[in-house]
């Protein structure tokens, strides 16, 4: 019998987690690890590993092929380009303290698409093979140029059989034309809501009347549109986090059950903010406490809310169909299925790459709409876009579920070959998956109810978190 390589990790509670490259996992004790490493597996060990599909007899026999299938299903396969993030203007009518891309003032000139850039964008979209497209309008505040949004949307509806549009808006000032644009069934709203009113005003609006304007528009949008049309994200300052109970109450009040808790982004100008020492450790603790708060709240109210990214991580542990979230997938090849086009027509592989370029740290632009995508630069970035044979990741029990973030590494360290455990990305994801597995192995009713809701299963079953005893 051949055993597929098992990676192991001692969890914070002292237990030992094992996983294989295809993502099957189980808990066992130190004794099993010693027997495995010294080639002295017992009959019971061998039986457990065989039943768990961790072994095979010969290459290409059924267990081998089954493992290969499961491994392949965990890989993110490049699809056709079907997702574009467009920045028709860098101008914004807010001046948030941690704005990530150095927005331009509302009245500034030279920060919108020119006619030539618009024509180039449409030419690029026209060259995509389709049949479907998702367009995310970012900014600045994209609704300041609703005319450009209309032109792009009309073009896409004509060109593609299926199209979907997301407007990332601060919902601050909406005129009749903006509301009309948002009214369409194929158009969705993504906004920022930093928690309770006090936090939102402190971090974003800075003025009572401006805050009133935002909440008035948010309430109007919630009343006007069906559930699922509006999503919102809070940006959390680890040095001054919001009251999470109030944040959840506020989100639920506006019909939003999914909260994507984001730290202040490091790629843009927000890096200058002083968040104190040990930011990563404090963020991880904050996030872990938020998950526990969610579980308790869900149990108390009977209404299930989630932390979006944590749910993604859980799904990546337990399911095959979560391989294409651009924030966590493996490999994470650049400019394969999505790309960003900035206000000046420049292509970027990700929005974070755009931010990083904007602050002058490095030019991660990969061409422009006039000359096309620079594949040479894309290939250079792609050399670090997977974790399979990274000298640290290859030993990590979370490797099958995790990803990479080349742009974040460049942003923080100026290079991509820093030992994984020393990176923010690794530190954050070790903590996330530690929490995921802690939660997966809990036996209390509140946790199991939340798990089932987050994973979309009828009920939690012990067999989903195996133990070899």
């Amino acid at each position: 019998m051949n055993v597929w390589p098992l990676k192991f990790r001692e969890l914070p509670d002292g237990s030992m987690l094992f996983s294989d490259d295809a993502g099957r996992f189980f808990k066992a004790d130190d004794g099993f690890l010693d027997r495995y490493a010294t080639d002295e597996l017992s009959v019971a060990d061998r039986s457990f590993l065989k039943e768990g599909s961790h072994s095979f007899d010969r290459e290409f026999d059924l267990p081998w092929t089954s493992f290969a299938y499961r491994w392949s299903q965990r890989q993110s396969r490049p699809e056709k380009m079907n997702y574009v993030i467009l920045v028709p203007t860098l101008r914004c009518n807010l001046a948030c303290g941690y704005c990530q891309v150095s927005r331009a003032p509302d009245s500034a000139r030279g920060f919108d698409w020119s006619d030539e850039t618009l024509a180039g964008v449409l030419l690029f979209l026209g060259g995509l093979e389709g049949p479907d497209i998702k367009v995310e309008f970012q900014g600045g505040e994209p609704l300041l140029r609703v005319d450009l949004l209309e032109t792009v949307r009309d073009f896409c509806r004509e060109k593609f059989s299926q199209s979907r549009f997301v407007v990332c808006t601060n919902l601050q000032k909406l005129d009749t034309r903006a509301w009309a644009f948002l009214d369409a069934d194929d158009t969705f709203i993504s906004t920022s809501l930093d928690g309770d009113r006090t936090t939102h005003e402190r971090q974003r609006t800075h003025d009572d009347n401006v805050t009133d304007g935002f909440f008035r528009n948010l309430e109007q949008a919630v009343a006007r549109y069906p559930k699922g049309k509006i999503s919102a994200l809070p940006t959390v300052d680890v040095a001054n986090p919001p009251d999470f109970d109030a944040l959840l109450d506020n989100y639920e009040r506006y019909g939003i059950r999914s909260v994507y808790l984001r730290p202040i982004n490091h790629q843009g100008f927000a890096r200058k903010l002083d968040q104190g020492d040990n930011v990563l450790a404090r963020w991880n603790r904050l996030h872990s406490e938020f998950i526990d708060l969610l579980i308790a709240r869900n149990h108390r109210t009977g209404r299930f809310m989630e932390e979006y990214y944590f749910t993604q991580c859980l799904k990546r542990v337990l399911r095959f169909d979560t391989n294409n979230h651009v924030d966590i997938r493996n490999p994470n090849f650049f400019a394969s299925d999505y790309v960003v086009i900035d206000y000046d027509g420049r292509f970027y592989p990700t929005d974070e790459a755009r931010m990083l370029s904007r602050i002058g740290r490095i030019d991660l632009g990969i061409g422009d709409v006039a000359t096309g995508i620079d594949q040479r630069k894309v290939e250079a970035l792609n050399s670090g876009a997977f974790n399979h044979f990274d000298p640290d990741c290859i030993h990590c029990a979370y490797q099958p579920f995790c990803g990479t973030d080349v742009v974040d590494d460049i942003s923080r360290y100026g290079r991509i070959d820093v030992p994984r455990p020393d990176t923010w990305f690794c530190g954050r994801h070790l903590s996330l998956f530690d929490k995921a597995f802690e939660v997966l192995y809990r036996k209390d009713k509140p946790t199991r109810a939340s798990l089932a809701a987050w994973l979309g299963v009828a009920a939690w079953d012990d067999g989903m978190a195996p133990v070899h005893s």
Binding site: W4, F8, E10, D21, L33, Y36, E59, Q75, H395, P419
Partner: protein
């Protein structure tokens, strides 16, 4: 405040793992940059200065050796898997 606690000890490594010692040493030095590790025959000598307990460091060393052995012995399996799945 930096923990200046120092301790010297030796981690004996069973013969079957000796060929993986050098690779394991590289990894543990990254994990514990505040400690000094050196190979002395069939053992690893440790001068610990980073506040971690002897038991913790012993475990880290042993796990690193285990990992290198597992990696080396299964590399062929992984290569065959990737070759088969990505073959055109």
């Amino acid at each position: 405040m930096t923990d200046t606690t120092e301790s010297d000890f030796v981690v004996d490594i069973p013969p079957r793992f000796h060929e993986y010692l050098d690779a394991a040493l590289l990894r543990v030095q990254v994990i514990h940059p505040g400690c000094q590790f050196s190979r002395s025959g069939c053992a690893i000598s440790v001068r610990a200065r980073d506040g971690h307990s002897e038991a913790q460091i012993r475990k880290t060393v042993l796990h690193a050796v285990y990992r290198e052995k597992i990696y080396a012995e299964t590399l062929g399996m992984r290569q065959a898997l990737v070759a088969a799945v990505t073959a055109r």
